[in-house]
C-alpha cells in the first residue's frame, strides 16, 4: 500500500473509531488498535503508540470544557494520578518486553470487559459522610446541576480506589488506551463518586497518565509520525461528531450494537494473538 492510500484509509478508519468510541462511551483509542492490527496489519506497537496519542488529544479536548464548568474534582484527580502514573510507567516498561501475542490476548479481554461494562446498568449512590482519610485528603466536593443547584458529595474507600487506579494506569501504559472502564470502577463502584464527577475526572486524568507512558513509548520507537497523524486527526473529529449526535439521540440501542461489534473485534484479536498472527 502506498503511504497516500494508507493515510486516507487511516483518516476514515480513525474517524469511525472516534465516532463509535464516543457513542459507545468506550473511547476512540480502544477501537483504533484492533482496526490497525486486525484490518490493516500494522504492528501492535505502532498501533499502541498511535492510540495513546489519540487518547491524549481527545481527553484533553473534552476535559477543557468540564474543568471550566467546575464538575471535575481536581484534587481527587491529582491524588489518583499518583497511582495511575506509577501504573502507567510499569505498564509501558512491561509492554516493551512482553510478547506481542500476550499483548493481543490481554487487549482482546480488556475490550470484552469494557464492552460488557458499557452495557451494565448503573445505579448512583451518593455518600454524604466521607471516610477519615478522604477528609484528610480533602476529596469531598460539589458540582453544579443543570438547574443551577449545587450537589455535595463525599467519598470513601480511598485505598481501594487508589489501588484500582494503579491497575487502570498499568493497563493504559501496557495497551495505549485511556482505560476509562477501570477508572470508572475505581471511582463509581469503589469510591462512590457521582457519575458526572467520575467520568469528567477520569477524562481529566487521562492526559497525565498517558504522558507518563508516552516518554517511554517515544524512547522505544512506538510513535510513528506517519501513523499517528491520520489517527489523531480522524479520531478527534470522529469523537466530536459522535458527541454532537449523542446530544440528540438515545444511545441505548446503539450501545448494544457497538458492544456486539466490539465483541467480534475482540474475539478476532484474541484468535490472531493465540495463532501468533499479530
Amino acid at each position: 500500500m502506498t503511504i497516500l492510500t494508507f493515510t486516507l484509509i487511516m483518516i476514515l478508519g480513525a474517524f469511525l473509531a472516534g465516532f463509535i468510541g464516543s457513542l459507545s462511551g468506550l473511547g476512540g483509542g480502544i477501537i483504533i488498535i484492533p482496526l490497525l492490527t486486525v484490518i490493516l496489519g500494522v504492528d501492535i506497537h505502532y498501533a499502541i503508540g498511535a492510540a495513546l496519542v489519540s487518547v491524549i488529544a481527545t481527553s484533553s479536548g473534552s476535559a477543557a470544557a468540564y474543568v471550566k464548568e467546575g464538575i471535575t474534582n481536581m484534587r481527587l484527580g491529582i491524588f489518583l494520578e499518583i497511582a495511575t502514573t506509577i501504573g502507567a510507567v510499569g505498564g509501558a516498561l512491561l509492554s516493551a518486553i512482553a510478547p506481542t501475542s500476550f499483548i493481543a490476548v490481554l487487549f482482546g479481554l480488556t475490550l470484552i470487559f469494557s464492552a460488557i461494562n458499557s452495557l451494565r446498568k448503573k445505579e448512583e449512590h451518593i455518600v454524604l459522610e466521607s471516610s477519615p482519610l478522604a477528609k484528610k485528603l480533602k476529596l469531598e466536593g460539589t458540582y453544579p446541576t443543570h438547574d443551577g443547584q449545587v450537589v455535595h458529595y463525599g467519598t470513601k474507600n480511598v485505598i481501594g480506589g487508589f489501588s484500582m487506579m494503579g491497575i487502570a494506569g498499568m493497563m493504559s501504559g501496557l495497551l495505549g488506551i485511556g482505560s476509562g472502564a477501570f477508572k470508572v470502577i475505581a471511582m463509581d463502584n469503589i469510591m462512590r463518586i457521582p457519575f458526572k464527577v467520575s467520568t469528567t475526572t477520569s477524562n481529566f486524568m487521562m492526559g497525565v497518565t498517558a504522558m507518563a507512558s508516552s516518554v517511554i513509548y517515544i524512547q522505544k520507537g512506538y510513535i510513528e509520525p506517519g501513523i499517528c497523524m491520520p489517527v489523531v486527526i480522524g479520531v478527534l473529529f470522529g469523537a466530536m461528531a459522535g458527541a454532537k449526535i449523542l446530544v440528540r439521540t438515545n444511545p441505548k440501542k446503539l450501545r448494544v450494537f457497538f458492544a456486539c461489534l466490539i465483541f467480534v473485534l475482540a474475539i478476532n484479536m484474541i484468535y490472531n494473538g493465540l495463532n501468533g498472527k499479530i
Binding site: M1, T2, I3, L4, F6, T7, G41, V42, D43, I44, H45, Y46, V53, I56, A57, S60, G61, A63, A64, A65, V67, K68, G70, M74, R75, I78, F79, E81, I82, T85, I86, A88, V89, A92, L93, L137, K138, G207, V208, A210, M211, A212, S213, S214, V215, I216, I218, Q219, K220, G221, I223, E224, P225, G226, I227, C228, M229, V232, I233, L236
Partner: protein
C-alpha cells in the same frame, strides 16, 4: 495574584485557575494538531507514492533528548515526519503544563498537602524518562 486571605477572594482564585487550565488544554490540543496537520501535508507531498512498511516494528532505544534534538533538526530542514513529531510532542506537553499549573495554584492557595502530592506526580513523570531506555 491576590494576597488577601478573604474567603471569597480565594474562591475566585480557584475559579480563575479552572478557566486558565481549561483554556490551556483547549489551545494546547488545537495548536499541536495544527502543527501535526501541516507536517502531514509536507510529509505526503514528499512521500505519498512510497510504500509503507508498518507491519514490522523497529524497536528504538533512544534517549528522549536525542529524539527531541533529532526532531528539532529535522523540523528546521522542513522534514514532514519531524514536523508531525513536534506536533505530537506539543500534545504530550499539554498535560505537563496542566500539572505545573495545578502545582502553582496549590502553592497560591497554600494547600501544602497538595503541593506535595502534585510534586510526587511530577517526580514520577521525570523518573519515567530515565526508566525508558537502557543506559
Amino acid at each position: 495574584m491576590e494576597k488577601s486571605n478573604d474567603m471569597t477572594q480565594e474562591k475566585f482564585g480557584e475559579k480563575d485557575f479552572q478557566a486558565i487550565i481549561g483554556n490551556l488544554l483547549r489551545y494546547g490540543v488545537w495548536t499541536s494538531l495544527s502543527v501535526a496537520f501541516i507536517g502531514g501535508i509536507v510529509y505526503l507531498l514528499n512521500h505519498s507514492q512510497e510504500v509503507e512498511n508498518y507491519s514490522v516494528f523497529k524497536e528504538n532505544d533512544r534517549n528522549i533528548f536525542e529524539v527531541i534534538s533529532a526532531v528539532y533538526n529535522g523540523a528546521i530542514q522542513g522534514r514532514g515526519e519531524s514536523i508531525i513529531f513536534s506536533g505530537i510532542i506539543l500534545l504530550f506537553l499539554t498535560p505537563v503544563f496542566r500539572v505545573l499549573l495545578s502545582l502553582f495554584s496549590f502553592i497560591l492557595e497554600k494547600d501544602y498537602l497538595y503541593v506535595v502530592i502534585t510534586t510526587i506526580v511530577i517526580g514520577i513523570i521525570i523518573m519515567s524518562i530515565s526508566f525508558g531506555f537502557s543506559h
